[in-house]
């Protein structure tokens, strides 16, 4: 009998856990599945404010329900005209003030903590700084000290503070990796700075790939301005950096078809798209860097990463990302040319 009760209790908890996980979204994109120090701090604040606020709601609802049932009009009596009550009014002024103070103190302290970027401004700091430059519907990432550039797929080491330096080169966007921490705008006027930590264990749970989003309305394809974040261990990250740095010349095509593709690329695409990771001036980086395109998670940040979708994209980018800056900048391609180009681009890999 007792065992049965236990079993019931366990299944009850299991169901509760299931319901809660259903309510907390996907681990790679949800702010309710915090995967790093910043998201943790924010999640704790969310919980604290929710507890306080649910308390307030309960008190209001209790009075509300009593009023609803007890004071319905039953006869034609005229109720006593009460002016008010000083005691009650003081109570419901002072208690909310106290509750807000309980919330305000950690809020202020967290606000300062999250804005602390002294480390990245130090002269000889070895902190990892990534310069994020946002463009109409794509993201550019420059690793300042490593002297490499990549686009669309941000690669970061786990379990350490990563500092970001944010700016936009056309209209205002906002840089957001929901599972890892809140957003910060990329302004056109100035550089914004903040930091994030990518938790190793949580990154594993999320398949080492977090979703990043643009959170500020920036034009027709605002909804499609996604990027991906590969969070890997420090060793893997260092290996990736040295692999990237090893690319001094554009990667040679491996097959004949790919060589054909490279030719087309060099004729029609290379004016905007670089295939080496070296750091050119910001204004010269007008389109995503494609050095490691073959290793990316999505085509154009949104489409499945395969040759078919890549060809569809090159054929008519306007259908997939309306208002993008790529449409019409290159000649129409035949299916054969597209095949060759896709073969070449998918072969652009830096890791063996």
């Amino acid at each position: 009998m007792k065992r049965l009760a236990n079993w019931r209790l366990v299944s009850l908890f299991a169901m509760l856990a299931l319901a809660l996980s259903g309510c907390s979204g996907k681990p790679f994109v949800s702010a309710l599945r915090p995967a790093g120090e910043v998201a943790d701090i924010q999640y704790d604040l969310m919980k604290l404010s929710t507890y306080i606020m649910v308390g307030v709601i309960i008190i209001v609802m209790v009075i509300f329900i009593i009023v609803f049932f007890r004071f319905r009009r039953k006869d034609d009596r005229i109720p006593k005209q009460v002016e008010g009550s000083h005691t009650l009014e003081i109570i419901w002024t002072v208690i909310p003030i106290l509750l807000l103070l309980i919330l305000a103190v950690p809020t202020v302290s967290a606000t300062f903590k999250l804005a602390d970027v002294k480390e990245m401004d130090k002269k000889d700091s070895d902190a990892l700084v990534i310069k994020v430059r946002s463009h109409l519907y794509w993201w550019d990432f420059e690793y300042e000290k490593q002297k490499i550039v990549t686009s669309q797929d941000l690669v970061v080491p786990t379990d350490e503070k990563v500092y970001f330096d944010l700016k936009s080169l056309d209209v205002k966007h906002s840089f957001w990796i929901p599972a890892v921490g809140g957003k910060l705008d990329t302004n056109t006027d100035n550089i914004n700075k903040f930091w994030l930590v990518f938790d190793d264990k949580k990154a594993n749970e999320a398949g080492n790939l977090f979703y990043g989003k643009c959170a500020e309305l920036c034009g027709p394809s605002h909804a499609l301005m996604d990027f991906k974040v590969k969070a890997i261990s420090r060793d893997q990250f260092d290996a990736w950096v040295s692999n990237m740095k090893a690319v001094k010349e554009p990667e040679k095509a491996q097959t004949d078809v790919a060589a054909q593709g490279q030719e087309i690329f060099n004729k029609s695409c290379i004016g905007c798209h670089a295939v080496t990771p070296d750091v050119k001036p910001e204004a010269a980086r007008v389109a995503p860097n494609l050095t490691n395109f073959g290793e990316r998670a999505r085509v154009a940040g949104i489409l499945e990463h395969n040759k078919e979708e890549l060809k569809n994209w090159i054929k008519n980018p306007e259908t997939y990302k309306p208002g993008n800056e790529m449409t019409g900048k290159y000649p129409d391609m035949t299916d054969e040319q597209l095949d060759a180009l896709a073969e070449y681009l998918m072969g652009l890999k830096v890791q063996d």
Binding site: R72, K74, V82, L103, T111, G182, L184, L224
Partner: protein, 621 residues
Amino acid sequence: MSTYAQKKGFGATVWDYLTTVDHKKIAILYLIAGGLFFLIGGLEAVFIRIQLAVPNNDFVSAGAFNEIITMHGTTMIFLAAMPLLFAFMNAVMPLQIGARDVAFPFVNALGFWLFFFGGIFLNLSWFLGGAPDAGWTSYASLAIHSKGHGVDFYVLGLQISGFGTLMGGINFLVTIINMRAPGMTYMRMPLFTWSTFVASAMILFAFPPLTVGLTLMMFDRLFGANFFEVAMGGNTIIWEHLFWVFGHPEVYILILPAFGIFSEIFSTFSRKRLFGYSSMVFATVLIGFLGFMVWAHHMFTTGLGPVANAIFAVATMAIGVPTGIKIFNWLFTMWGGSVKFTTPMYYAFGFIPSFVCGGVTGVMVATAAADYQYHDTYFVVAHFHYVIVGGVVLALLAGTHYWWPKMFGTMLNETLGKITFWLFFIGFHLTFFIQHFLGLWGMPRRVFTFLPGQGFDAANMVSSVGAAFMSAGVILLLLNIVVTQVKNVKVGNDPWEDGRTLEWAIPSPPPFYNFKQLPLVRGLDALWLEKMEGKKGMTPAEPLGDIHMPNASFIPFMISLGLFIAAFGAMYHVNDKPWAIPVLILGLAVTFGSMLVRSLKDDHGFHIHKEELQDEKGAEA
């Protein structure tokens, strides 16, 4: 008066409304125009929810979606919520203070026509090459980048309608300061009048920054200036400040009159005076004041730095205190009362839990560090719809049922009204509650679609289903209005029978001069006091005498029409159309010419003579 009106033909009625300066007719104009824009904005909302019902939907294109969300926000705030509140302020506030009209009837008409032409101008964008698409906030970098004339329509349309709003606000302020009946001290004013007073003062201070912002943007877009062009030394963040220095108080300009409406309803249908009247007044003023101190919480992620963010976070939380005071005062108004569940009371009751939810999420988004997660996501969409729909729109619907008899002399059907409430209320929570979670799960706002596989699908569908319920509610309300007006069963002075304030002391609808003799006010809830002493109506404060009334005028219409024409000239001047500058000049000539006529022509109004008043029945003070 009523027999006189019935004899008029359709054309004469239209002309009457085009030229009227009577606050009650202007109220009806505001109600019709605001209602029309509310339906347009609602239709846009339905399109949004259809598009977002399933992932990767292509019901509307990406560009069209941005136009729809921009116009939904702009229309609902500037062209629906504000004018509908102005409708009730116009219809009720002068009656509540025992006045015969507002202080400046001519300016009142001008305010309406400016709003109306501004709204029409903005909506014509749909037919003239595309609506604005930079969001209702129209952040500068995107607005300057936006092609076509959409944003120009936004800038010019809002500028014109903004003039109207500003004039309305000043007019209400002067009216309340100068035109209260004998004995109507400030601390005897009904709460709706108080909230009108505070909201008008906020309009006075909040609209100028918007005007400045719009002017700068107009010069950037139409006349080659570079205020927001970073490459030329401009700055886009200043637009965010100007917009939100206006935009945040705007929220309180909307919600305070809503609070006022509910205060009247709670008190009336509980048959009790408002609990803690003086603290309610104090809270209203305090909210109005604090409303100007918190704008930067809309910019927590702009990068203002931790000092600014922390200060604005704490200031924002502080607003929770006076708002909480109000909630408890309403609850304790009903406590010990005799609560009658009429349709307005349904809305008022539904408002409490809805608005408390909106309020507590307000404190949550005020928590700056956590707001970095909420900001620009569906969590914020859910929050402000809980405040604006759960607060303002419920108040507008409540006010419509509550004051309909006073405005039109007929009573909306109570059964239909209650069904409308349930449809709307259930639909509202179904649509917006789940959106809190969508935001927390990582869905940004203002997205024209979302990709599958992110856990957003089911919740978006639920939200869209809710929108269908809300639409059904609105359609039922329209049906109710038609049925009621067709039946046309007239009601007396005090159809709810529990009326406490002065508007219920005179016929429904009131005669055009409102009070035959100005009433003597002896305390808060003036009519209630008299009723409790067994009197039938108010004691007059003056002997019966001639009443001075203003003449109707077509000039307000012409002044507004001129600006409407001029706006087209200013806009198409960019395309080097040869007719653009002449049209601009013509429009301005119409406006300033009309103003000149108004200045040069003496208009002394007319008098209603004592003898005529004696013949009128039922219009005793």
